[in-house]
Amino acid sequence: MKLLAIFAAASLTGVFPQIDKAPRYQFAGSDQLAFQILQGAPADVFAAAAPKYPQELYARGKCWKPVVFATNTVVLIVPRANPAHIRSVYDLRRPGIKLVVGAPGVPIGDYTRKLLAKLKLSSVLGNIVSNESDVKFVVAKVALGEADAGFAYKTDVKAVGSSVRRIALPAAGQPTVQYELCIVRATKHLQAARAYVREVLSPRGREKLKAAGFGLP
């Protein structure tokens, strides 16, 4: 297999190398990766945490038809010590809470805003102290104990273990989180890229995704 370049959402950092450790991976916010591919970055496969960006590349003729390969769940996380004593998402309304979220346009940032809007909690946005460029930075700032709370994916909580605690969210607020991947049209390794996508969609790939906490379509 040729050395593929896989551009993947930051939340796939843990699981993709488990499915195939051979390719060169670049993990970042899906929006950043899509922008880089549009600027001609040499990616072979693009895997995003939201359909928006693969669909946009597809519409612009930059990648082949995207497929859904995983789903995820948005969760509220707090540092293990829970300095702000947050017990539910409604506690985020308290003034002075230091909330860290993804920036608008970053998938986790958009999901977070959708979730808060559904729960009629958009006022909580006033407690944001930082808009981060991908979900890993959100998790890091909560895990360090610098932020009081943050919104991330269920799979991220699994990855950082005991340094954060998960606070249950009302199911009514949960947005649909779908991961899509596509083969970049400019790839010079079409066969290998196809094989990689097949690997992710294979029973073994699905097994790994499931073990990491992802949902399956």
Binding site: A103, G105, V129, S130, N131, E132, S133, K141, G145, E146
Partner: protein, 259 residues
């Protein structure tokens, strides 16, 4: 040989100038000016100026006495102290960022609640910019002719009077140059700020952070902010040249060393 050197110099100059020029050529100047009216750009400009002014005020207040002491005293461990002062010059900003978190973070050594506030931006800017000022200030104080200081002391001037009436005026050009350099470096600060202060419009989002936030959303706004920073930096560096030449003409009175 001269032709070869000229050719290499031309390549070097073109390489350094091209990205800067390209920022101004990508869209029309009218568009650049128009995009600077974007709320993100305007808010970032206010945050950048405010935090830079505060940070440089701190740098002057604490940096000037530090530089004066280091310039006028020789003692064991002095070179270690000077190296410590210079260290942020070469540290990757990411290291400065985790260092500031480890020191001033809520879970850090001093356990402050500065993270994600404008104070955090000011500290990050001061941390990376201070060495530019202090280094230049040490050199400026060292270039003050010691015979003038000795003469003043003989005539009965106290230490404070010597500092205020002799050393400070003679070093002023150098201090100004150092301040301009520190200001230019501080305006460009990115890595330590995004790690320690985060990024939030109207609170901690400085001009470089706004470029990062906007470059996928609205490339023209990012370009406009970039153009603004280029113009600022160019002006500041030019100011350094003037202040330095002032320093050198000032050295008629203090001819010992030059920076």
């Amino acid at each position: 040989m001269r032709a070869a050197f000229a050719l290499l110099a031309a390549v070097a100059l073109a390489f350094l100038a091209l990205p800067v020029v390209a920022i101004f050529l990508r869209v029309s100047p009218a568009t650049l000016v128009h995009e600077l009216g974007d709320p993100v750009a305007r808010d970032a400009l206010v945050i950048s100026l405010k935090t830079s002014v505060l940070a440089q005020a701190l740098v002057i207040c604490f940096g000037t006495p530090t530089a004066y002491l280091l310039a006028t005293h020789r003692f064991a461990g002095r070179s270690v102290l000077v190296t410590l002062v210079e260290l942020p010059l070469v540290l990757p900003p990411a290291v400065a960022g985790i260092g500031l978190l480890a020191a001033f973070g809520r879970a850090g050594l001093l356990q402050t609640s500065f993270a994600f506030t404008q104070t955090a931006v000011v500290l990050a800017v001061a941390f990376v910019a201070a060495p530019f000022y202090v280094r230049t200030a040490i050199a400026a104080f060292e270039s003050v002719d010691p015979t003038l200081v000795a003469a003043a002391r003989t005539l009965g001037a106290g230490r404070w009077r010597v500092f205020a009436r002799i050393a400070l005026p003679l070093a002023a050009g150098g201090l100004g140059a150092g301040l301009a350099l520190a200001f230019a470096r501080g305006l460009g600060e990115f890595g330590a700020t995004i790690m320690f202060a985060g990024s939030l419009q109207r609170v901690t989002q400085t001009l470089p952070l706004a470029i990062y936030a906007e470059f996928e959303q609205s490339f023209n706004v990012a370009l406009a902010i970039g153009a603004l920073l280029v113009a600022f930096s160019f002006t500041l560096l030019l100011a350094v040249k003037w202040l330095r030449s002032d320093l050198i003409s000032g050295s008629r009175f203090a001819p010992s060393t030059s920076t």
